[in-house]
Amino acid sequence: MSEPLLNVAHLRIEFNTRRGTLVAVDDISFDVMPGEVFGVVGESGAGKSLTGQAIIGLLEPPGRIAAGEIRLDGRRIDNLPYGQMRRLRGRQIGMIFQDPLTSLNPLYTVGRQLVETIQTHTSMNHEEARRRAVALLEDVGIPAADKRIDHYPHQFSGGMRQRVVIALALCANPRLVIADEPTTALDVSIQAQIILLLKQLCEQYDTAVILITHDMGVIAEISDRVAVMYAGRIVEIGGVREVVKNARHPYARGLMGAIPSLHRRVEKLNQIDGSMPRLTEIPSGCAFHPRCPQAFERCRRERPDLVRVGESQVACWLYGRTS
């Protein structure tokens, strides 16, 4: 087995606020292998975006990495000086945001934005960079790319803009792309296209993807492995087949139940009642216990850690060894 491309170990993200320190991401660890699609799923507020921002070094103050390490190819990147981290962005780690309508600078042609990014990371001259930009636009499926390259973002539809965004994220050929809900803002009819495009391109370029989403269906469709997050922690992590078909954690099972899948018979749609706790009021013990149908005494007192269950790892006392 090869070395992981990305290794996140015991990452903890905190916010210092007037009302004290809030822990938004608490001791999460995972690996991403070269070229794989790693899904991160969970309800709103689980800490998915913060995790992605921490990896690419763009956490916004007052958010900060309070503990843990992030390694790319074995090299620590969470404590790099600003200039070095900047050169890594785009070149080693790319990012795709949720809303293609606002991700592009409205005042510049897409070509200028592409050329600028390519030239930031390579020694290509303008001509070469432009040729590469056209090729990229073709790769992401923009018709008449050699003409469209001189158009402004507002001249593209939402789906086309997200294709441009993907081209921009991939233009310096990064080893890892963090896609934070890349299709949420898009029309349902084109979401699948964009997801498949992303998957296909990353295969083609041998780029690994961290795919952040609420949508277990999307994860089931394209990812290799998946981490389920709840209240700043990973509650279950494993191969996608295992987690989707055979979710162990009650929260993960709830999410799976909510997949409106065409491929799978859903016996019963078990929505999870209630909502994610706010950072200020994360419950004791297992943070999920107030909503968990199977909670018992121990869940309220002690916090479960990830333990191996079958081929996955699960943080739930239902599976914990008695200590």
Partner: protein, 329 residues
């Protein structure tokens, strides 16, 4: 482009006509023009003859048309005070006001934009706080007070700069300029600062808040995530996106700089249009007043037109084939 510019032009012409109407009404119906022109001993017949000669008995519409026609040619009649054509007086005074206004505007932009960018980028830095405090002073102190304070310090106490007048001027064609002589430049410093101070603080605060706004946008975050340099992000992407509101405000401000020059010109006894206008008000010199009104309106309209064209240059979304209006926000 043409359709858009033509529409704006038509609007401008309309605005100018409305202003001309006001000026015309003022000219003809505030006081009696004839009364202003003749002595007490003039007989009724002579007055009536003069009325006829001036066309004051024609139907109002005809008079208005004539008024507009003259205005277009720069003919605004004789000043009651000076008994000289208003156009001639304006020609003498306009360079002083325009030079003062442009230097003041330049001063406010050249200092205000960098200060705004700086305070936007280093929100809580020490220097930013100083700038912000300073800008509060600039916004809250009335213009004349700034002028008087400057005079007190630099003219009265230190004696470095002249406290009034325009210094030596050089005539180039019909234009007199104070920009080419040392004394002219020295005389320009304090009035320009006084006049530009308010605009400077306004522009600085505007750029700052626009920068803060733009730096929070997704496209800036995405630019950072692509590893662009800070320089490219701050100046190439962020600053340019602050320009549309800045152009608007600057345009409006240049108009009001010209209008507000009245106060500064009074404080510094600057021989410009503003001073002329104030004297005209004092002496109910209607031709000067109405001509001044038209001229200032004309400046506003021209500046607005330039602003519109600049928008068009800066923001591609305005250049679109209107069929595909882009989402923004």
């Amino acid at each position: 482009m043409p359709a858009f510019i033509i529409r704006r032009l038509a609007q401008s012409v309309f605005v100018m006509l409305v202003v001309a109407m006001v000026a015309f009404l003022m000219f003809n119906y505030v006081g009696d023009p004839v009364h202003q022109m003749v002595g007490i001993e003039t007989s009724m017949q002579e007055r009536e003859a003069l009325r006829e000669a001036l066309g004051l008995n024609d139907p109002p519409l005809v008079q208005f048309a004539r008024f507009v026609g003259h205005a277009v040619q720069g003919k605004f009649g004789l000043s009651y005070q000076y008994k000289r054509p208003v156009a001639e007086l304006f020609e003498e005074r306009l360079p002083a006001t325009l030079e003062l206004s442009l230097v003041a505007a330049l001063f406010s932009l050249v200092i205000g934009i960098p200060m705004g960018v700086y305070t936007g980028l280093h929100r809580s830095g020490f220097l930013s706080r100083i700038f912000m405090t300073f800008s509060l002073i600039g916004i809250s102190l009335p213009t004349f007070l700034i002028g008087i304070l400057l005079i007190f310090v630099f003219a009265v106490i230190l004696g470095w700069l002249p406290s009034y007048g325009r210094g030596e001027v050089v005539a180039i064609g019909g234009w007199t300029t104070g920009l080419l002589t040392i004394s002219g430049l020295k005389a320009l410093i304090m009035p320009a600062i006084t006049l530009g101070m308010f605009q400077l603080t306004l522009i600085m605060r505007l750029i700052r808040s626009e920068m803060l706004e733009v730096l929070r946008t997704d496209y800036i975050k995405f630019a950072r995530a692509r590893g662009l340099t800070d320089r490219a992000i701050n100046f190439g992407h962020a600053l340019k996106n602050t320009l549309v509101p800045v152009i608007t405000i600057t345009g409006l401000q240049i108009g009001s700089i010209i209008a507000f020059a009245i106060i500064t010109e009074t404080v510094f006894q600057w021989p410009g249009m503003g001073l002329l206008f104030l004297q005209a008000i004092h002496n109910v010199d209607i031709p000067i007043m109405s001509a001044y009104l038209i001229l200032v309106a004309f400046f506003f309209v021209v500046i607005n037109l330039i602003v519109d064209i600049l928008y068009y240059v800066v923001d591609p979304r305005l250049r679109v084939d209107m069929g595909k209006a882009g989402g923004h926000g």
